[in-house]
Amino acid sequence: MLNFSTKQLIGVGVFIFAIFVGVPFAIAATGRWDFFFTLTSVALLAIASAGVWLTFYIGRINIGQGAFALIGAYVSAILVVKAGWSFWISLPAAGLFAALVAILIGLPILRLRGVYFAMITLVLTQVVTLTALALPITNGAKGISSIPLPSGISLFSITIVPDFATMDSTKLAFYYTACILMIITYIALYRLVNSRLGHLCRSMQQNEELASSIGVNISYIRIVIFAISSFFGGIGGAMFGSIAQSVYPSSFQVADSVNFMLNCFLGGLGYVFGPMLGTLVLYFGWDLLFEFGKYQMLIYSTFLILIIRFLPNGLLSLSLRKGDNK
């Protein structure tokens, strides 16, 4: 059904084996338990970045994913804490609510192109932060804390997902959850890009006038894509809130939105798996440079500039050539 070639299947198989077996084994062997949290964050940020990448795919620069991640985190937290929902139901609800907000915001702003769209999205994160500070339901600056851990799911008294609160350490459970979500996200993204909708997106990205001359309803597709993109943001944000067991107006800031965009640039806008690699490299790169102290930012940004200068198509352009495992 998924139409993967043998080579791709092997690649995907190795990747899945590595993250589900290799990584936990390596961490247990080295005792670097903190890497679980780092890699869980990478997986979740990669989900949000996948959304940003998708808006790039219709030719829009999206610097507002932090807004939708924050919305997702709050919606899930409120549903779990105040309405007593199971986290697992609040998760898709958070994504859908973020998508709904994206539709309402997208209707007026998606007509804008280039830097104008980018500027508006840049403001969005700040708007959502300020809204969270002002609304009673989000509890202002105090945020929502002590969010219960995800409860278990059982069907016909067979446990499908164990109750997180009964575990000694939730690190591995959250790591697996994040990885599964990330894999589902990227399979969906891959399918979308290689389906008719993806082809229509590509036609719009390259020339909106020509696309509408062949009958593409460009305003409709823009909204659909922006909604899907924000859905990913909402899912990523909600999961983050659940791991941190708290959400504050500052949980996702403008800088996070910028990072989501950078992840896409760095990994490669032409490759579906670009944002995943970009997130991994950027997140780890920043951590590894920690020992340089006050020069951390300087070295980090120099690297970014060099990469964008010499690899304008992203890191994946090094290993993948046109037509290969796109």
């Binding site: 059904m1 998924l2 139409n3 969906a188 399918r191 979308l192 389906s195 008719r196 909708l197 082809h199 229509l200 590509r202 036609s203 390259q206 020339n207 006038e209 020509l210 509408s212 001359s213 062949i214 009958g215 593409v216 309803n217 460009i218 305003s219």
Partner: protein
């Protein structure tokens, strides 16, 4: 002959500037109709209004008894009135084949979610699109550049690609924007043959905006002449060639020459 398209008292104003003033004419089914006129006569604006890429200030465009002016361009395209652009408007990083495939999306039988899930109908669509693209490119004698990236094509092929993309949507009326511009004599003659075969073999009514007079005269069944936003003449090529107003518009009147 059946009237396919009616342009009724169409006017376009940009602020105080009148780009088109009260223009009316009919387009018959299966004819090749050219719109000519000196630079700034309002030819492109007229095309934009017919394809709904810009709204009319007043007046309307009727296609098969239905108003199509002031709609969204994609809706007009779906009804079968499709425009092409000048050579820079292409899908740059797609191959010729990919461009023609994507332009067929209106024929899709499967839904967007069907494609996402890989339904049977979607697979049949994909197969049918590829096959039709091959057929169309062969018809346009473009098979050998089928896998070239659009941005690498020479000007003449770009123009043909534009027509291929337009034809792939299965139009009833094709509006060609300067299809012969920048071409040498041989290329022009090839394109003239191509446009004619689009009409003869595919039953597509063709309207074109063009500057190349010999090409226009040889290809057109009828010609509309615009000058300063007004329609000044309408008729067969030989009628137009002998029309005084047209000669005046192109060569300038005696008064103008003294004025200059």
């Amino acid at each position: 002959m059946n009237t396919l398209l009616q342009i009724k008292n169409v006017t376009k104003k940009y602020g105080g500037l009148i780009a088109n003033n009260n223009i009316s004419f009919d387009v018959a089914e299966n004819e090749i109709l050219s719109v000519i006129g000196p630079n700034g006569a309002g030819k492109s604006t007229l095309f934009k209004m017919i394809s709904s890429f810009t709204p009319t200030t007043s007046g309307e465009v009727i296609y098969r008894g239905e108003r199509i002016s002031n709609l969204k361009p994609h809706i007009v395209a779906r009804k079968g009135v499709v425009r092409t652009f000048q050579e820079t408007t292409i899908f740059k990083s797609m191959t010729v084949h990919e461009s023609v495939v994507v332009a067929q999306h209106l024929r899709a039988k499967a839904s967007l979610s069907g494609y996402f899930l890989g339904s049977k109908a979607a697979k049949e669509d994909v197969k049918a699109f590829g096959k039709y693209a091959d057929e169309l490119l062969e018809f346009l004698e473009m098979s050998e550049i089928s896998n070239e990236q659009a941005s690498n094509l020479p000007q003449g092929s770009l123009r043909a690609l534009g027509i291929a993309i337009g034809l792939a949507t299965d139009p009833k009326v094709l509006l060609l924007d300067e299809p012969f511009a920048g071409m040498n004599h041989d290329e022009t003659m090839r394109m003239v043959d191509l446009v004619r075969s689009v009409r003869d073999e595919r039953g597509v009514t063709v309207m074109l905006v063009e500057h190349d007079m010999p090409a226009v005269m040889s290809i057109s069944d009828r010609i509309i002449v615009l000058n300063f936003g007004e329609k000044i003449a309408e008729g067969t090529p030989s009628e137009i060639q002998n029309n005084e107003k047209v000669i005046e518009a192109y060569l300038g009147s005696a008064d103008d020459e003294i004025g200059m």
